[in-house]
Each structure stands twice: as structure tokens, then as C-alpha cells.
Subunit: 328 residues, 2 copies
């Protein structure tokens, strides 16, 4: 049995779509238990209204609402009884295996970082690993937006974490790691990319060199490594492509149309994973609907079952220890 | 009569597709004259082979080939008789109105910068302005890849140049200028973006704030301002998305399908314009086919006729003078 805590008040359309998504996820997987964290009476009324009488969902009272623009650290300090913080606190106590919120993503990151903690202090800046679609297959994008102004060595950490993620989650051996850049040659791009290129040549990953925007979309790499800034632009552009395609063409009723929707609809991705933490913290899209929530819970369960976080952490710890100079 | 010089040996499939594209462009526009710069005998044979006997194309002998990876400044110094350098030199002498090359883009930039010269020394780093498709309408992306590691004030220069470009080329009054960023709020993103945001609030452009990747694709701005690095990733992703879409769906035979092809096919864009130079230098795609070359020449003629470079330069000079402190 895997247990997933879900922030009932997280996201633009909470709690309705969250409750609906939770019910759908619970009904599909008998080996999954969802703990909805939110205002108890309201959440229970929502379950009842939808006729849910199963045992796959329980409710933990967490009445404090969190605004989308509230300062992350303030949320953690002043809103311990919010759905968001409660979700993570339950995992800290060992009562659930993963925590999901579609609410204030900065607050979710801060809560996971402070409550679950980093695997190793040597891993400076935990990134967001996000599964994104390409023409070929889904790949891992890291960092999808947790950090800014990273040093080159931080990009190498991203590569190691992303590589372990892709290996565990997709089951791909020696996943191909590409550095997002503006040219193929190693001397191309900003100073930080040129430096990262040199470091990646000697890093314990299957580094295939620079990938340009087109290579990324065509699926040349299994892991696309980039700054949180560029990663966020990439992620949002992919969402924009999907939205634009649907605006222009609607639903295309063909095998290609269904395959496109399955891969490119942001809701199917189900939420991004914070890497390098002692636990499984999932950030779902702020504008999640019921389907997006259902998928986020589904993916959280899958991450927990596969032990993605554990594998990533083991890899990071190992490598960092090897790299550290021997102490007498 | 507008005159466009075209590098006959520029691009992955030169000179064949270049000659073919030139013929098609010349046949469509009686008021256009194309000067093909390349090995005279070869180019003339190519024209003859295709049965071209019109007066819309002349040939200037420029036998030196330029490799795609040759160092830009070396090309300028050691290959004055290359098609690429000759194209720009003819414009410098006032014999043509615009210069187009699908060859070594760094060498084309360097040639334009050194031979045509910057409008004003105060405009530090001329960017590439590129017309890109969105869900709504074409917009200007600036910088599409000429620079790296820009300071915030350089991004403001890009905004001014891009705004004048959009105004002149699209005929849009007060084009909306957006700063590509990873969030809407002004305190979001890397330090350079936060600083640029503050400068843009007081810049002589219609600044609408930050735009995220999705806003960009949905056409929220008329001008998307970003670093050359991010701009290049954006441009290449758009190309990748078009390529992927065709791979998945083929040609969609509907109004939407035709509109998509017309807007999103990179070949229709026709080449990017170097901004802030005394002249019209066009960088076409390295893998241009005959259609892409035809469109690049067509767009070069349009830029020259509309006086896009002149308007951009006037705007840049004006503003820079206003900004400079008064001298006693």
C-alpha cells in the first residue's frame, strides 16, 4: 500500500477539482491510499456530495488557506496547519510516502526543503525534475524552475540527479544527458555553459554534448540539463505549443492526434519532482483540473513505489563522497 | 528598384538551392534585382541549366568558399573574395540595398558589423531580430542568438531596437514589449532580468512586463526581449515543434493546416535581421532550401523598401542622445 498526501486547497480550482481528482485516482488503484489535507468539514462534504464511500481516502484537518503569492518561508512559519505544510509534515513523520500540492510552488519547495531536508549538504540547490514530451519519447528536464543564476558545478549536480531520475523512472540504462545550449560546439554559449561542458565531460553521466532547442524537441537526449530560468521557459513553451495546437486544430481524431494529446497535454505529466531531498515532494500545475490532480497523485505513487527519490539520493551521495578529498 | 546581394555559396545546400531560390524570387518581383555573389562560372552555369535568361539577376565573381566553422574574423580578413564578404562589401559601396547569406552566421555578423558599422558606438551589442510565429500573429524575437552574457542595459537596447523593428515591419503602433522570464512578478527570475525589468519600466517602449514561455507562444507580446542564449533556444524550439508536428501529422489539409504551415514553417520567415547597423544584413537558415532562400530575398527586399534598418537606427540614436547627460 502506498500513501500519498494531497493538499486539498492547492491550485486555482481547489478544493473541488482536487477532491474529484483524488476520488478518480483512488477508484483506479486499490493499492493506493490518499490523505486529503484541508478543512475537514469542507473536504468531507465534497467527498459526500460526490457519493464517495470508499476506504481509499482519508481526511486530515488542515484549515489554513495559502495564497499563491504568499512568501514561501512565511507560509512554513505561520501556516503549519495549511494543507500544503501538513502534506509534507505527514511525510516527515513517516505517515505517507509522498506529498502533492498544486498550490504555491515556492512554499511547497520551501516546505519540502526545510521539513524533509537535503540528502547531503554538499548538494547545494535541489532542482525540479520534470518529465516533458518530445517527438520521440518523454524525457527529464532539470531544472524546471527552482533555481536561478546557477554556477557551472550546480548544473553538473542537476545532470547527476536528472540522470538517476531518468534511469529509475523510465528504466533507461545510461540515459543520454544533453546540455541545453545555442550551438553544438563546446566553445559555444554563455560562460557558465562552456564551463559546465568541460565539467560534464568528466562527470559520471552519459554526456552527449550540447543540445539545441530543436534537438530537445526531437528527443535527442533522455535528460536535458539547464538553468532553472531556461528550464522554466522551455517547460512553459511546451505548454504553449500544446495550447496553440488545440486552439488551431481542436482534437484531432486519429492515432497521431491521440498520441499527441497523451504525450503533450501538460495534465498527463502529473507534476514535477523535487530532486535531492529525503522524500518525495511533487509540485502539480497551479491550474490543475481534476484530471491533472488524478495524474499527479498517480505519478507520486509511481515515484514512491519505484523509489525514484531514494535512487537519486544514493547516486548524489555516492558521487559527492567520491569527489570529496580524502581526510586523514 | 531594390537590389539584394545574395551569397551563392552560403548554406548547407549551396549553390543549387540558392540559385533556384534567386530565380524564383526574381521571377515573382519585377522591381527586384538580385546580385548573386559566388564563383562566376559555376553560378552562371547554374542559371543557364535552369533556363534563366531574365534581367533580374546578375553575377559578381567571388570564388572563395567559407566553411561553416571558420572563425568569423578570419573569414573577413582572409576571404575578401568570398560570396559572404562580397555581399556585404557591395552594400558598403552603395551598390545594393541589402545582403543575404545562409552561410557561416558568425562570419556574416562580423562582416556586417565591421563593414557596415554600428549606427552609434553607444549601442554596444547589435542583436539579431527574428520574426517568429505565435498562436495569434508573428512577433519579433530579439536577440535570437548574436550575443551571450548580456548586461541588463543591453537588454533595454534590444527592447528599443525590437520595438522599432515591429513598428516599421508590422505597422503596429506602440508594439507591446515583453521581457521573457520565469514568472509574472517583477522580482522573479535571474538578477539580470530583475534589473532589466526596472530599467524597462522607464524605457521609451510600451513595456507590458514579464512574459512566460506560454505567453510568448500565445502571442501576448509584439516583441519578446531576451538574451541571445535564451532567444536562440526559443527560436530552435519553435523550429523543432514545427518539425515534430509535421512528423506526427504530415500536411493537414484544412484552413488551420495551411495557416499553421504558412506561419510556423521556418522557411517562410525568410531570415533574421541584424539590428543597429548602417545597412540591412540578413542571416538565413543554414539548412535553407530553395523556398527558404526565395523568402529570405523577399524579406530582405521588404526590409530595404520599408527602411526597417533606418527606422531602428533613428530610434536608437535619438534615445541614446536623450539619455546622455547634457554637456556644457
Amino acid at each position: 500500500m502506498v500513501k500519498v498526501a494531497l493538499d486539498a486547497l492547492g491550485g486555482d480550482f481547489a478544493p473541488d477539482v482536487v477532491i474529484e481528482g483524488a476520488i478518480n485516482a483512488a477508484n483506479k488503484d486499490a493499492d493506493l491510499h490518499i490523505v486529503l489535507c484541508g478543512p475537514e468539514a469542507e473536504v468531507k462534504a465534497g467527498l459526500e456530495k460526490r457519493g464517495y464511500t470508499g476506504h481509499g481516502i482519508s481526511v486530515v484537518d488542515a484549515p489554513d488557506p495559502v495564497a499563491m503569492d504568499e512568501h514561501p518561508v512565511q507560509v512554513l512559519k505561520k501556516k503549519p496547519h495549511s494543507g500544503l505544510v501538513t502534506c509534507v509534515a505527514l511525510q516527515k513523520k513517516g505517515m505517507v510516502d509522498a506529498s502533492v500540492s498544486a498550490g504555491n510552488s515556492g512554499a511547497m519547495m520551501a516546505s519540502c526543503l526545510m521539513l524533509l531536508g537535503k540528502t547531503t549538504e554538499k548538494f547545494g540547490r535541489p532542482p525540479i525534475g520534470c518529465v516533458i514530451p518530445t517527438a520521440e519519447k518523454p524525457i527529464v528536464l532539470v531544472d524546471a524552475g527552482a533555481n536561478v543564476d546557477e554556477r557551472a558545478s550546480v548544473l553538473v549536480d542537476f545532470a547527476i540527479a536528472g540522470s538517476a531520475f531518468a534511469e529509475t523512472y523510465f528504466g533507461r540504462e545510461k540515459p543520454k544527458v544533453g546540455l541545453v545550449n545555442m550551438g553544438e560546439e563546446e566553445h559555444k554559449g554563455p560562460a557558465v555553459c562552456q564551463e559546465a561542458y568541460q565539467l560534464l565531460k568528466n562527470a559520471p553521466v552519459n554526456f552527449i554534448g550540447n543540445i539545441e532547442g530543436e534537438d530537445l524537441i526531437m528527443g535527442k537526449a533522455d535528460v536535458a540539463v539547464t538553468s532553472g530560468f531556461t528550464g522554466n521557459v522551455i517547460l512553459k513553451m511546451i505548454e504553449g505549443f500544446y495550447e496553440m495546437h488545440h486552439k488551431m486544430f481542436g482534437n484531432i481524431d486519429s492515432e497521431a492526434g491521440r498520441k499527441f494529446d497523451e504525450m503533450w497535454d501538460y495534465r498527463m505529466t502529473g507534476g514535477a519532482l523535487l530532486l535531492g531531498l529525503n522524500g518525495t515532494g511533487i509540485i502539480a500545475h497551479g491550474r490543475s483540473d481534476a484530471l491533472a490532480i488524478e495524474k499527479a497523485v498517480e505519478v507520486a505513487a509511481k515515484y514512491a513505489r519505484l523509489g525514484v527519490a531514494k535512487t537519486v539520493n544514493a547516486r548524489l551521495s555516492e558521487i559527492k563522497d567520491e569527489e570529496a578529498p580524502a581526510q586523514a
